[in-house]
């Protein structure tokens, strides 16, 4: 195959006059839309707004931690800042970001479908998300909440005098948004695949999002129950967690983490979904060990339900149950390792492009590896006793959540930006942004591994003076990181008006979303596509495209 054939692919469909963006106009054409692409954009806008809200909290935290004394805010304000940072980032950004924004847009197109199985439920899920987020905004405006995002009892039920009820109600409602999205994706994947698109021809994005959906569907109800019990106890004094009423505060932690550990995988599996797509597209190669990567997503989804108590190694579980959960936590690391090795092997003898999405993904693999191996440190009981609840843990999960999920999210935004908007982003600025994020991220979070092992506890407003140097480095890194995140806001918005027009397949990638025009028509395809190629199978894909052209 020569380069000629790849360029041919870009012109298989003329750019139509009507696409999903200009088919109708007006506020209500968006707010009442049932088009998965428009709902994806609604999500994209809302999660981006909340990402910057959470980011502002993070930046204020880092400013306070520049000095050991608690001199910028009061302790109560500081406690509210880290609580809101966690709640906004986890419930309102990380969990919906990739599945609900990118997944909503891309998944049905990848399947060759007109829409999701339940377009109205899809819109409902966005409204539920917005209502939940409005509770969050209400709490922020009216004085905040100070329980930490984990809402541990009995602090949250008896001692905190902040807006615990409104916050948990917001998280409770948002949870249903997550459940409905998961449900929709599962049904769509089962029922609406295009002719010829068998399970083992599915892009790995679909496998991973499918695994995520299972977790969303099964784990989120447990969060709803837990938060409901918490609200009952706080408002009505029902004794479930309060030892004074015969309850057990550790029970809360079991219930909470029974959702919240799988929730880590609700955040990470979609990131892995993006990685597989981008690696294949920017190496122009089939992902090595396709079925291993596919099944490792399901293995992660399954095992994620069996490791919750590794958050409780010092919290009051027996020695033997701690050992069982340590063992299972080691096992859950295996499928993630498989994926990293497979992605790396895919690059061998490939055609590696250094465009922005790939740069983010190279960063992802590097950072996710650090996040993953430090997870092994925490799963090792003897070490966890020392480092749990320290900055080591903070560094670890930021390597997973930010180094992993946010990097993949940025990669996905850049990768599908031409498809979503029909415009190219400016490559040079985007590369600069990716570099700033990578450097800023490492400078922010790597020192936290050290300061955590040395002994700095997390959630400390003031800290011992010997920890200052590492904290100053961390705050400096956060500044770079902030610039790295603001830059794409500027050039992506710019590109909406002035970006170069994108063809159907600007990357020369394999996949149904690259067959249709950019931006796609309202119903995604002019006629139902027939899939004759395996995922990422370049020669077969090019052959199929050529035949279509000759027709």
């Amino acid at each position: 195959m020569t380069s000629q054939t790849i360029d041919d692919v870009q012109f298989i469909e003329p750019i139509p006059k009507r696409n999903y963006l200009n088919v109708e106009y007006g506020v209500f054409s968006w707010l009442l839309t049932k088009d998965h692409k428009r709902i994806g954009i609604l999500y994209l806008i809302s999660v981006t707004l909340l990402f910057f809200v959470g980011g502002i909290f993070a930046f204020l935290l880092r400013l306070e931690l520049l000095t050991p004394e608690g001199d910028l805010f009061t302790s109560d304000t500081y406690n509210k800042l880290f609580t809101l940072h966690g709640i906004v980032m986890i419930f309102f950004f990380l969990i919906p970001a990739i599945p609900s924004a990118l997944g909503n847009f891309i998944l049905p197109i990848m399947l060759g479908a007109k829409d999701l199985a339940f377009p109205r439920i899809n819109l409902l899920s966005w409204y539920l998300y917005v209502i939940g987020a409005l509770f969050g905004i209400y709490v922020i405006v009216t004085g905040g909440v100070d329980t930490g995002w984990t809402f541990y009892t009995p602090f949250s039920t008896q001692y905190s005098n902040t807006h615990v009820f409104a916050t948990t109600l917001g998280a409770f409602i948002t949870g249903f948004s997550s459940i409905l999205t998961g449900l929709n994706f599962i049904v769509t994947t089962h029922r609406m695949r295009a002719p010829g698109l068998t399970w083992f021809r599915l892009p790995l994005f679909v496998w991973s999002i499918y695994a995520t959906s299972i977790v969303q569907l099964l784990a989120t109800p447990v969060l709803a129950i837990t938060l409901a019990l918490l609200m009952f106890e706080r408002v009505l004094g029902v004794g479930i967690f309060d030892p004074g009423l015969g309850g057990d505060p550790v029970l809360y932690q079991h219930l909470f983490w029974f959702y919240s550990h799988p929730a880590v995988y609700i955040m990470v599996l979609p990131a892995m979904a993006v990685v597989s797509e981008v690696v294949a597209a920017f190496t122009r190669k089939r992902i090595f060990g396709y079925s291993f990567v596919a099944f490792s997503s399901l293995a992660i989804a399954f095992l994620s339900f069996l490791v919750w108590a590794h958050h409780l190694f010092v919290a009051g579980i027996s020695v033997y149950s701690a050992m069982v959960f340590s063992f299972l936590s080691m096992l859950v690391a295996v499928p993630s390792a498989i994926k990293v090795f497979n992605w790396t092997a895919t690059m061998y003898k490939a055609s590696v492009s250094w465009q922005t999405p790939m740069l983010y993904i190279l960063g992802f693999i590097g950072l996710f590896t650090i996040g993953g191996v430090t997870g092994l440190f925490l799963a090792a009981l003897g070490i966890d006793v020392h480092v749990t609840d320290s900055y080591f843990v903070v560094a670890h999960f930021h390597y997973i959540m930010v180094g992993g999920t946010v990097m993949a999210y940025m990669a996905g935004i850049h990768y599908w930006w031409p498809k979503i908007t029909g415009r190219m982003y400016p490559e040079w600025w985007a590369r600069l942004g990716a570099l700033l994020v990578f450097v800023g991220f490492n400078l922010t979070f790597f020192p936290q591994f050290i300061v955590g092992y040395v002994g700095m506890p997390r959630r400390y407003h003031a800290y011992a003076p010997e920890f200052q140097v590492l904290n100053v480095l961390s705050t400096a890194g956060a500044t770079v990181l902030a610039v790295g995140y603001l830059l794409p806001m500027v050039y992506l918005l710019w590109s909406l008006g002035w970006g170069r027009k994108a063809g159907a397949n600007p990357w020369g990638a394999v996949g149904l979303e690259w067959v249709t025009s950019s931006p796609p028509p309202k119903d995604n395809f002019h006629e139902t596509p027939v899939v004759t190629w395996d995922a990422y199978d370049y020669p077969a894909f090019l052959k199929a495209m050529k035949e279509t052209q000759h027709v």
Binding site: V352, T369, G382
Partner: protein, 360 residues
Amino acid sequence: MYNDFPLWPERASTFAGPVDTLFIALIIVTGTVSVLIWLLIIYFAIKYRRRPDNELAQEYEPPKALEVGWIVVPTLIFLGIFVWGSWLYFHEQRVPANALDVYATGRQWMWKFQHAGGQREINALHVPLNRPVRITMASEDVIHSLWFPAFRVKMDVLPSRYRTMWFQATKTGSYHIFCAEYCGTLHSGMIGWVQVMQPTEYQRWLAGGPEGSLASQGQTLFQKYACNTCHTNDATGRGPVLVGLYGKEVMLNDGRTVVADDNYIRESILNPQAKIVRGFGPIMPTFQGQVSEDDLLKLLAYVRSLGAQRPSVPVVESPQSKQTSSGSPLAPGAGVPPQTQPGQPASTKPRGTTSTTSTQ
């Protein structure tokens, strides 16, 4: 003491060495693998970068054996880490028999420590060098977590039950005490110093304490709350005999047996109806909310001290049930225990003063 800018925590307990060894071993193993992955990625990204003659990837599939290799090898490594980490943890959970007892109470936002000799400290703890120290602890309000970074040990302190942790300090000096579980406004102020002292200095420090032993303070409370009217420590009492009880098995009226450990004693004071000893009626009132955590620990110390004594009457489930030990015949009034445990510094001062011994 700490330098201005430490990159490694002080090693001041018997756990510090083994934990650091595992930590360093993990850094070496995982660091090697991570660096290898990064180098491969960078190498591939450069070597196979897209060029005009390279627009499509080469048709090449690496051998499937690789796949098996990188499933099996990491799994084995992970299991090795599991075994090593668990082995350490197992040791951290087994308290040596000769451990010195210290009692801790966490509350918003301070640490209170009480020694067996009755000495009390706030946000400071004095311990002897090279002697295992066992801390029995509970919280008065929310969940806290007692962390000694220099000792590499930490444990959550719960409002619902007693938990014990232990360490053996190996280096004199003073080291941080932190609360590691977020507990409200002044969480970051819930800190203190643990002072590791030479045994002789430690004895001198103990001697400065003005109060009676913790167990004897517990005995005073035992009388203050009129526990002794029922727990008369002879068969005439309406409550079970407590002498010789601690650590033994107790038969309950629903047929279960439980070990009379710290949490059983605690529950029996706070929620006596939960477990009724066979042969006794559910007549004891609850003391929930009436006894402070500090005082509960004193009562616990007293019941522990009774447990060390040979019972003057057999420890039986009830006067009606069959006797299980070959104790002496019933001797009314014979149950009053001595006021101090052997091995504790004798209390020379009168009891009842409540001043705090905080030397730092």
